[in-house]
């Protein structure tokens, strides 16, 4: 307990670090995932921009990256991280790896939610003279917004989970805090404080996502 008190500054710092990593990743990976997901959907057969070669390449790409366990993925993309963000370790590198992995994961969630949009409303927009990109931005995405928000909430929770591994390349956050100060120093109380913090973050995020989705879906 005394030890906990000593670690309080480090604990809050870790909380903020986790939130920072997850938020930035959700921003970058979320937009990337939305773009790839929409591309997966519209290039399907019979889609707004049906294009078999692009569709096949996208699917292979997504299917290639998605099954890689994240802890291996971090190491595998480290050279790429050095190239893109200039460093292979620390929070910047972990955000890079996490965003990349998240984009591919999110793309499938986005695609699934777009598939559930009634093709009739898309046809209606086209019949009114809406162009393809306009239809995507003003009909397709708004019509799927409720489920998309729930999907992104799910992703947020998954990112909190994945970010806990940041320690392997010197990243921070609650996962690293729990391993370094709790597990390795035989201090279960510290570990459990991190666990509780994570549970609280996840609960709050899920609650917020549910409320938002319910407001969008009006039910």
């Amino acid at each position: 307990m005394e030890r906990l008190w000593e670690l309080r500054d480090l604990f809050w710092e870790s909380v903020l670090e986790t939130l920072y990593i997850v938020a930035v990743t959700l921003g970058i990976g979320g937009i990337g995932g939305l773009v790839i997901g929409v591309a997966l959907y519209v290039t399907r057969k019979g889609g707004l921009l049906a294009n078999a070669p692009v569709s096949i390449v996208l699917n292979v790409l997504v299917n290639f990256f998605r099954p890689i366990p994240f802890v291996i993925f971090i190491g595998a993309v480290q050279p790429l991280a050095r190239l893109v963000v200039g460093i292979g370790i620390g929070n910047r590198a972990i955000i890079f790896a996490l965003s990349l992995a998240a984009a591919f994961g999110i793309s499938r969630i986005v695609e699934q939610n777009l598939v559930s949009v009634d093709p009739g409303v898309i046809e209606a927009a086209r019949a009114m003279g809406a162009g393809r990109f306009r239809t995507i931005l003003t009909v397709l995405i708004p019509e799927a917004l409720g489920p998309l928000i729930l999907g992104y909430t799910f992703v947020f929770v998954a990112l909190v989970d994945m970010s806990a591994i940041a320690g392997v390349i010197g990243g921070g956050g609650l996962g690293n805090f729990a391993i370094v100060y709790g597990y390795r120093q035989f201090n279960p109380a510290v570990t459990w404080v991190a666990v509780i913090a994570i549970v609280v973050i996840v609960q709050v995020a899920q609650f917020a996502g549910n409320v938002l989705a319910r407001r969008i879906l009006r039910r």
Binding site: G129, T138, I216
Partner: protein, 342 residues
Amino acid sequence: MAIIELDNVSKVFPPAHRGAAPVSAVEDVTLHVEAGEIAGIIGYSGAGKSTLVRLVNALEKATSGTVTVDGTTVTGLSERRLREVRLGIGMIFQQFNLFSSRTVWGNIAYPLQIAQVPKSQHQKRISELLHFVGLADKAHSYPEQLSGGQKQRVGIARALATSPKVLLADEATSALDPETTRDVLQLLKKVNVELGITTVVITHELEVVRAIADRVVVMERGRVVEDGAAFDVFARPRHPTTKRFVGTLIDGVPTGATLESLRANHTGRLVTLSFDDESLPQSQAFAELISGGIEFELVHGGMEDIQGRSFGNLTLALRGEDAAIDHALGRLRERVAVTEAA
């Protein structure tokens, strides 16, 4: 003047999967719809009528032939130019296809945004449209809060927002109950009469065509098998498919089980007189029978009114001397179609 011209139009869909045959949905259709008329295109499901109507606004691209709408040839037009053409063609759908993420107001505003109508004019135009379709109090409702009939009214208001010259209705009443169907059809008639909008109605229900169409086009297996003024098609159907459709709504010459049952319940010779507005009036036909001393009763059939013109098949059971009946029928035959049950 024809506002929609389809000339030798065909649409072939690529095979659904490897090894399957390509599907020919529309085959060599030539159809001119006159400005201001309501054309009813009727056919069983799979006849190609939904594809045909989508060729008009190029939601489907014709494989061959030309489609011209209001003087603009739609076939081969670029996507950008198509958008302009589509602003002049409204469309409504069986499942309404309203945007669930937008209110009634937002749904009607959408085509105005596409047409780049200044926002300052939206208020006036949208409330005008809502009054026209009778939904002024529903502006801020979401589609799921509306009944089927109300949804289709919103669909109609949305389709009319950019003041199109042509309205395409794809099975617009097929998801509605009979009473709501009548209301929506009346509204479509109002659109045609008050706004002068040329309307193409796609349906598999002859009732719909009878209620509002000036012109009837019958489709089967991608082809137009009959095309004529509504009255002519109803009164004198020529193609077997047309006869089948008309037969579901209008009693013809009794055959089969109907005839058996009439025979069992009535004595005398069963004769069907087919009246239309060019034939002998009913009163004179009946006078002829009476003056011949022939007793008769009406056992089957009825009169129909299509666009203010009446026609119908009346089956009578005639009792009297055979010679007198033959003589009377001989005289009637000169002025009205007479069919005697064998």
